[in-house]
């Protein structure tokens, strides 16, 4: 576990009209790990996510991905480097079929994006790959369903299949279990464990048993600052963490 960090953030700050949502966060994500970002509501977890992927520009600080400063890059270019994120509210293309959802991601890899003079039938060449990605997340029988009609857990699975289509090196999952039924949580946990092989995962998660089960490393945020970092066991024994969580959750 002495590999170089795949992503580091130093002194990340974000102010919204004087309110310090994120106040000097340092993060270092080891290659190949599953890293969790936890903390009480309003701790700034999602803001940190947005800063890492450049969906928000930091007020101060920098983000380095594989030795390259990505702080000034537009978010689409960050994704092109292999750092792909999901969103808290499920990020599917609702009126497209599950198959077409995955195809949108495959299309970019295949450079089938700007040809406006060709028939969209050329996209059916991507169908086999899309089907196998859907099979990986257990959605092969739903390939023809509209994404909007899928259950919540399946939407999340579809989102992961779409993300995997880009073959990202670093996956950022924003609350992948939010609002999920119990049986779905187990399935998606397993899925994350499978896809994390050979990849790095950074996830924001509220469900602490999931975090304890899945993650190698945990960073605790509170009031926009890093409160503690380490293994789940070490962090959960930390009195400051217990205090931050008191009343809201039983850490």
């Amino acid at each position: 576990m002495t590999t170089a960090p795949i992503l580091t953030a130093t002194g990340l700050k974000k102010e919204f009209r004087g309110f310090k949502a994120v106040n000097g966060v340092d993060l270092s994500i080891r290659e190949g790990s599953i890293h969790a970002l936890i903390g009480p509501n309003g701790a700034g977890k999602t803001t940190v996510f947005n800063l890492l992927t450049q969906f928000l520009k930091p007020t101060a600080g920098r983000v380095v991905y594989r030795g390259r400063d990505i702080t000034a890059l537009p978010p689409a270019d960050v994704a092109r480097l292999g750092l792909v994120r999901s969103f808290q509210i499920s990020a599917v293309f609702p009126k497209l079929t599950a198959l077409a959802n995955v195809r949108v991601a495959l299309q970019r890899k295949a450079s089938l994006t700007t040809q406006f003079w060709r028939s969209s039938r050329v996209l059916s060449g991507l169908d086999d790959r899309a089907r196998s990605l859907l099979a990986d997340v257990g959605l092969e029988s739903h390939a023809g369903s509209e994404a909007a009609d899928l259950s919540y857990g399946r939407k999340r699975a579809l989102e992961i299949a779409t993300t995997l289509a880009l073959e990202p090196d670093l996956l950022l999952l924003d609350e992948p279990m939010a609002g999920m039924a119990h049986e779905d949580i187990g399935r998606v946990s397993e899925l994350i464990r499978t896809v994390a092989v050979g990849r790095t995962v950074l996830m924001v998660e509220h469900n602490l048993s999931v975090v304890a089960d899945l993650c190698d490393r945990v960073t605790v945020l509170a009031r926009g600052e890093v409160l503690a970092e380490g293994s789940y066991d070490a962090v959960s024994r930390d009195p400051r963490v217990r205090e931050a969580y008191m009343g809201s959750e039983d850490a």
Partner: protein, 328 residues
Amino acid sequence: MDARPTDLMPAAAVPARRSDFNRALYTGLAVLGLACIVAAPFAIYPVFLMKILCFALFAAAFNLLIGYVGLLSFGHAAFFGGGAYASAHALKVWGWPPELGILFGAAVGALLGLVMGFFAIRRQGIYFAMITLALAQMVFFVCLQAPFTGGEDGIQNVPRGFLLGGLIDLSVNLNLYYVVLAITAFGLFAVWRVVHSPFGAVLQAIRENEPRAISLGYRVDRYKLGAFVMSAGLAGLAGGTKALVFQLATLTDVAWQMSGEVILMTLLGGIGTLPGPVVGAALVAALEHYFATSSFPVTIITGLVFMACVLLFRRGIVGEVLHRLRRR
């Protein structure tokens, strides 16, 4: 679609027969429609038909943007009028042949689209509409003041000329009708092609969920700008064709009312449907044509029709028909 192995299902025989019937019905309707379009100038005044065709193309170009990218432009008159002025100038002052003159109009429309789109494309919703309106008003004032546009008079007596180096005399209305029909058909096909292309698939993804498209690595502004330029180019093509038909390019073509009119036509017909803009353009042009001679102001009629449309069938005429058919 047809290659689906429907015969795997035991009860597929009946639906198959019905789909055969449907196909025969649609083919019959298409042939009948085509015959009507070809024969129309013998029954109806050709210049009026050509006006409908020009506006159908204009509305289809506008629909490419609002229906398939989700951007409401309130400045499309700049491209239509810009194309009309450019074509009129090329035909009358430079003496270009009609095919080149019309292409020049499309090119000027696309170029204006590139410039205006560059400033407007990053804005969303009402801000996008406001910026396109403001930029289009600037184009209007340039057309009002610049010497080559003829100010209040516009460019009049534009020669229609001869197509294909003198082969086809376009001063004959019937000849011109078929040329305009071909141009419009090409424009509608272009819109259809773009919508059902890999590029169109990306546009749809952006319209469905823009942040997700960005997170998948799409530089969405470039795709939107591309669609904007295509829409502007086709609007310029419509304007150039209109200048040839009426032998005239005036301030009416670049005024903001023209931008409003194309929105009205597209909404009436049904945004996001391919035949919708054509139906909307025909309806608005017909209303204007038949009420032009009456003492009753036509704007009130179109306003009432528009209100009825918004209240009764929000999807527009074609949109509503397609919705009902799909539900059955």
